[in-house]
Subunit: 142 residues, 2 copies
């Protein structure tokens, strides 16, 4: 049931990782550590938070008066950063399942961690992911 899924790592260039997110139209990327073990999830909305200035987050009405090009801002803000720096400090626990887990075992992990994405590992190496919608599609009677 595991899906092909773009993976990035802690030390990957931030701009490269964000481009991957955008290209694949994924809600998040699994981030691995230097040994290829799943470390965390970089959510697309977390990247958006990184890009929006703090004072605009506090008062979104201010967004209307910013006349700079957001696109220029994106490249500029990401330049020279790594994926590690995009991750929130209070990042949620990563949901991980073993390749031979049953559907209900995967569902249980997903439910507990409240994460729409479970990394699937075999011998400590990530081999794919399962999204919540994929799990539902698989579990529903046809």
């Amino acid at each position: 049931m595991a899906e092909e899924y773009p993976v990035t790592s802690l030390d990957t260039d931030a701009l490269e990782a964000v481009r991957l997110l955008g290209e694949h139209r994924m809600p998040g990327l699994v981030v691995t550590d230097k040994d290829g073990r799943p470390h965390s999830v970089l959510g697309a909305s977390q990247v958006v938070r990184f890009l929006v200035p703090r004072y605009v987050q506090d008062d979104p009405a201010l967004a209307g008066v910013i006349d700079e090009q957001f696109a220029d801002k994106v490249a500029e803000k990401l330049a020279g950063h790594t994926v590690r720096e995009l991750l929130p400090e209070d990042r949620p626990e990563l949901a991980v399942a073993e390749a031979d887990d049953t559907i209900i075992e995967v569902a249980a992990v997903m439910a507990r961690v409240r994460c729409p994405l479970v990394a699937v590992v075999e011998h400590d190496t990530i081999i794919g992911v399962i999204t919540a919608s994929r799990l539902l599609e698989h579990a529903l009677p046809r």
Copy 2:
């Protein structure tokens, strides 16, 4: 920038809505009220939480000893319920943008609500959604 997106409503049959989520492989569905105004987001992981028995969420190890078919359980648990009943009580605020908002205005709403999905409305009616990854794709210099 708004995307075509499957929409459901508070009084839609739960099984029908979950089937829609699975078919479109979406991380969530926008839920409208009876007047077609966006009301909330039904996340795929929230549905998984609804389906996994409480005692398994508290102790995922128990999932390994359940020998019933999860697929049978899914149809049975959803039967006779509506989308309204799937929504969590502490459901997060829905992020809403106007059709003529700028990218940074959409990004600001997304960042504040920490939601990877913004409903786009025109004259109070939903005309599409913008996902965080779509926004990043659009904002990145090519």
